[in-house]
């Protein structure tokens, strides 16, 4: 029982990180109709920038957090402006291939700018252990779950009540009509890329806090992918919850079936989800079966 609870809690913690990155996928898909295959790499760059800030400028939590968020916003805006906007109006195939090319470039750029060795992000907190009913939980793990829940609530409110959020939903629903209503699609796209970069970047920083920074971190993007599929590619909140489910599944599979299963549990789930409910648990049913 103790073992099971331990697995569940660490599953929730890693699942929250997947959930954050999965929300990053969903934000971009919802407003631009693209699957951003460079999401994992963007996450990784934000985490590396946070680490650089913590070692060179200051290890203060707030400095690192603000710096990382600003860097993530900038990264998202630059990518949207330089790489994605020129592809506006091109076929989906070409645009998605561009994100794949971008992923490869970013991944190697990280190896060039930083090095290939693992680093621990140390901001003086997140590694302490709290005992909850006899089970040791790291503060960082609690923080990431709380952050995910807070962001879920914030994003729900943003899409529901704010003018910008409604505009984003309008562009997602029908970009031509939205354009006629005076909504600038390019601004919405830029905002989506920035938001996605920040949300995923937060996940990346938490990952670096609880585990380590390493060039293999881009695989987080691949791990978060099943979460988006499970939650629904166009469902931002669903993707967040999908992340929790994938995290738990992965940990249970790893704990009871062997470590090899841990690596593939998420991917095996993708295939099952696509067979049964291809639009995900919370996604809208507009998958065409041709």
């Amino acid at each position: 029982m103790q073992y099971l609870i331990q697995l569940l809690i660490s599953g929730l913690a890693i699942g929250a990180i997947y959930g954050l990155i999965a929300m990053g996928f969903a934000v971009i898909y919802k407003s631009t109709g693209l699957v951003n295959f460079a999401q994992g790499e963007m996450t990784m760059i934000t985490a590396y920038i946070a680490w650089t800030i913590s070692t060179t400028v200051s290890g203060n939590v707030f400095v690192v957090a603000v710096g990382a968020i600003l860097a993530a916003v900038l990264l998202g805006l630059v990518i949207e402006r330089l790489v994605m906007r020129p592809m506006l109006g091109e076929p989906v195939f070409a645009t998605v291939m561009v994100t794949i090319g971008l992923a490869v470039i970013l991944r190697s750029a990280i190896n060039f700018i930083w090095d290939a060795y693992p680093h621990g992000l140390d901001i003086g907190m997140g590694r302490g252990i709290v005992h909850l009913g006899g089970i040791g939980v790291r503060t960082g793990q609690i923080a990431v779950i709380v952050t995910l829940l807070a962001l879920l609530a914030a994003i729900w409110a943003f899409f529901r009540y704010s003018k910008v959020g409604v505009a984003m939903r309008a562009v997602a629903a029908d970009d031509r009509t939205a354009l006629l209503m005076g909504i600038s699609a390019t601004k919405v796209h830029a905002l989506a890329w920035a938001a996605s970069s920040v949300i995923a970047g937060i996940g990346g920083v938490f990952f670096a806090l609880s585990y380590d920074l390493s060039p293999a971190m881009f695989q987080l993007g691949l791990k978060a992918f099943p979460a988006t599929i499970l939650g629904g590619l166009d469902a931002v909140l669903g993707s967040g919850l999908g992340g929790l489910l994938i995290g738990i599944t992965e940990n249970l599979a790893g704990g009871y079936l062997g470590s090899g299963m841990k690596e593939v549990a998420g991917f095996a789930m993708i295939i099952v989800v696509l067979m049964i409910r291809p639009f995900g648990i919370f996604g809208e049913r507009d998958i065409e079966r041709v």
Binding site: A94, V98, I100, G101, P226, F267, R289
Partner: protein, 348 residues
């Protein structure tokens, strides 16, 4: 007076070689490739081998991505399955190499059937996602099935001996690669001009219209996927023999990206494009290295230490630049040049 390039019968339209210059160039290329092992040193010859093996794999992916318009991000999975199928059959169970090659095609084809049957019912990017998942799952499966695949230790592979002919030397192995690449080229060209190939292209161009015309979408997509996996598997077996050692590490995920880059650079949906793209992409890192080393020796060392990173960066850059500025690839550029040449000084 007739001007321009007219096709008056259906046979002319689907002919593999439609003009004397193409005959000439094809013959020259074939002779050059046959002469290559005698002329080139072993370093240059290794590039010829890599190009021939990569062409085989790229033609395999071209059937799926180029003709049928479906993206696969996990073709390296079929490559590694094919390599392992060959290695297990030939090195472990001492079957004849031809059986090994057959297995190297059939095992990935079977795997593609399992992956493709559920995911090809859906439209859009779903195949990209499931194949991506497949390429990671298959690595774990290979590592876990130690009794068959030796797990992480990999399997040694000898160069084969077929019908008493030993392909041990580099020259002989180049001929084997050449034969397989040429066969694959003919096979894909013939698929393209058959009923099946026209169905593939119809699906790519407009799947609803294809369905209305009576094409069974699921069956044809699956057929394209299985054929593509079969050919890729054989390329994988060749690559395994070339490396003389089959292991999961020998087939990094970057190979999937490289294959897509080849198709985009060459021009999607064209066998000639796959060939041109392969030559460019395989030689690109080497060419860049030479250019950089002209500038300074220091850049040369950067290139050797960060070779893998620079290579992937180049691939990424080439993909983005081609999609942005020359989406029809090298073949498209070639067509434009040809048209300008024929019609000059008129625009068209």
């Amino acid at each position: 007076m007739r001007t321009g390039d007219y096709k008056q019968t259906y046979g002319e339209l689907v002919a593999l070689i439609d003009s004397p210059p193409v005959w000439l160039w094809s013959t020259v290329l074939l002779l050059a490739l046959i002469a290559a092992p005698f002329v080139l040193n072993s370093y240059a010859l290794s590039f010829v081998m890599i190009i021939l093996i990569t062409v085989t794999g790229a033609l395999g992916l071209n059937i799926l991505t180029g003709y049928t318009g479906l993206i696969s991000l996990g073709h390296v999975g079929f490559l590694v399955t094919g390599a392992y199928a060959y290695a297990v059959l030939v090195s472990k169970y001492h079957m004849p190499p031809l059986v090994g090659f057959l297995g190297a095609g059939l095992v990935p084809a079977l795997a593609s059937l399992i992956v493709g049957a559920p995911s090809l019912r859906l439209k859009g990017l779903y195949l990209a996602i499931t194949t991506l998942a497949f390429s990671f799952i298959i690595n774990t499966v290979i590592l876990e099935m130690r009794w068959l695949t030796n797990g992480a230790r990999g399997i040694q592979v000898q160069r084969p001996q077929i019908f008493g002919i030993s392909f041990d030397s580099d020259a002989a192995f180049t001929y084997l690669c050449l034969a397989i690449a040429a066969l694959t080229l003919f096979a894909t060209l013939n698929i393209r001009r058959s009923r099946v190939g026209r169905a593939f292209v119809a699906i790519r161009d407009n799947d609803t219209a294809a369905r209305v015309m009576g094409i069974n979408l699921h069956a044809y997509k699956l057929f394209a996927f299985v054929t593509s996996a079969f050919i890729t598997g054989i390329a994988g077996a060749l690559y395994g023999i070339y490396l003389s050692f089959v292991s999961v590490e020998g087939f990094p995920f970057l190979l999937s990206i490289e294959a897509l880059a080849i198709l985009i650079v060459g021009g999607l949906g064209s066998a000639l494009g796959a060939v041109l793209g392969t030559v460019l992409i395989v030689l690109l890192p080497e060419a860049t290295r030479i250019v950089f080393s002209l500038f300074s020796a220091q850049m040369d060392t950067t290139f050797t230490t960060g070779a893998q990173e620079l290579k992937s960066m180049l691939y990424g850059l080439v993909i983005i630049l081609f999609l942005r500025f020359q989406p029809r690839g090298l073949v498209g550029a070639w067509h434009d040049i040809k048209r300008t040449w024929v019609h000059w000084p008129l625009r068209y």
